[in-house]
Symmetry: C2
Subunit: 315 residues, 2 copies
């Protein structure tokens, strides 16, 4: 299942309104099929893995990070039917779908056809890997990551705005990889005016995975940009599961204030700036007590001389 | 030698102008004597360890973090003589003394008496453990640690100055332990006016190890406080090897600007404050390039939910 979850990450940021599912088909200890939700959402992970496996899927074990879809679509047969017709021995599901049209119907259809089905293996990890979809279904908005690149003393730029560069090559490459894993990137109008950022993915081979640029507020933008007037308007962004916020401090603060940040991506360089610009403006914090217990660290790693910490909002 | 260095840490912050040396005497695989520089500087580590070992020191191996002293003092015989008279088989020294009155004389006196002497084992670690003494001898001022307790976004307080509490119990206890390892603590006049801090060690059993409080600038202070007018005046502090700076941001900036900070002690809590007070004011940084390459991380560890990072100035 861990492998299926890793595969699901390949689709992250490219599956439109669909969940980025991963699927592995195993027979006799050998992987006979691997699949992940393809760009735009089709084929689904199961369809791709089953196509690879062919007849080998019969009697096999299918690991899939989300319950196979059971609701009809113009875009092809349901995965529940595809899986059922392949006649596997077992289907191991990490998490149920949250879409009521499929929820439990997918596994029931398989169970009714005599396939052994289990649910819950690595559920939390799968949920996290597909958090964009779940957040959109549960909260009616994309999953939001706030990225900051800071000095040890928490500055994101010198007092005059200079921010090239705080972090080193490896941290910046990682930040571009995170861009490629998002459907859209948002910055504030002030950042557009000051930096005119391109917000594209500058990693060899991933140039085409550049997300949709979005500005919060009024700014002079190019045609392919989108514009929203307030943080809450992200609810109206179609087919965007994963949203990355890259600055500046007023924009970061407005999303935090609106309780619309799910994940923090903090890159920290071993430098002191002193009296520079802060990454986050006033978020209307009433007391220090209120600040505690909000964030849980998921990961911490070194990227060259810099450090990356990833936090998610505490449950 | 690692054990001798660990012992040397016991004296840290309490040996006045003397180095905090550690010493282990080993015979036949058994430790027969342990010593570390005692409060005020006497007895020296070697004298203490030799007193423990007694006749067992004859033919033993003596591990000592610094070359035994060879210059006469009114306070007793030199350690070089004491060691020589004990007739050990070998003396293993981590680092030479930097005091010209002893430098090389200590080991030469032992060598001349037929004792096998080696120098350099774990030298860097020993140097770091006695950095207060070395800094005072080399730079004519105490070794300076700057401590900051921050949020993830680099704030040391809310905008209204509230800073109780950013970090949790374990981080605060560790910070008090660090106080106990210093001869003196310095804060700015603004911090004194705002917080009237006691700067004592509030750890059971270590209350008597509270350092000398010092204020930078003019403030209403109690009798046992000292006062200095500018960062450079720390050169005039007598018998202080280890100095800890605890705030505020202008004080931190003034020491950094004067290039008088050797070590950073950064406690970071998993909270966001947003638009709070920064830990370090303007340090006159000319460019981001100039900020790089200045600090090397020595340690990183979790203290409860908080994280501690220790940096030292790059060589």
């Amino acid at each position: 299942m861990a492998m299926a979850i890793a595969l699901s990450e390949r689709g992250r940021g490219r599956t439109g309104g669909n969940p980025n599912v991963g699927c592995i088909i195993v027979k006799g200890g050998i992987i006979v099929g691997r699949g992940w939700t393809q760009p735009g959402g089709r084929p689904h992970a199961e369809a791709m893995a089953l196509a690879q496996a062919g007849k080998a899927a019969k009697g096999a074990d299918i690991y899939v990070t989300m319950e196979p879809c059971a609701h009809k679509s113009e875009r092809g047969p349901t995965c529940a039917d595809l899986v059922k017709d392949a006649a596997p021995a077992r289907v191991i599901v990490a998490t149920l779908d949250i879409d009521e049209r499929t929820r439990r119907h997918g596994i029931d259809r398989l169970g009714d056809a005599g396939v052994s089905v289990s649910v819950g293996l690595l559920e939390q990890q799968a949920h996290r890997a597909m958090a964009g979809f779940f957040t959109r279904m549960e909260k009616g908005r994309p999953h939001v990551t706030l990225k900051l690149a800071m000095s040890l003393d928490g500055c994101i730029a010198m007092a005059d705005g200079t921010s090239k560069w705080i972090t080193g090559d490896r941290a910046r490459a990682h930040a571009h990889l995170e861009r490629a894993r998002c459907d859209a990137i948002l910055v504030g109008a002030g950042t557009v005016a000051a930096d005119n950022p391109s917000l594209d993915v500058r990693l060899t081979g991933l140039e085409k995975r550049s997300p949709i640029p979005i500005v919060l507020g009024k700014a002079e933008i190019q045609d392919h940009w989108q514009e929203i007037a307030e943080p809450e308007a992200i609810a109206g962004l179609d087919n965007i599961n994963w949203l990355l916020i890259e600055g500046g401090s007023a924009t970061a603060a407005s999303f935090l204030k609106a309780n619309l940040v799910d994940r923090l991506l903090l890159y920290r360089a071993p430098i002191l700036i002193g009296g520079g610009l802060q990454g986050i403006g006033d978020i209307g914090l009433g007391s220090l007590d209120a600040a505690h217990g909000q964030w849980t660290r998921l990961d911490r790693r070194d990227l060259g001389q810099d450090m990356l910490e990833i936090y998610e909002r505490a449950a």
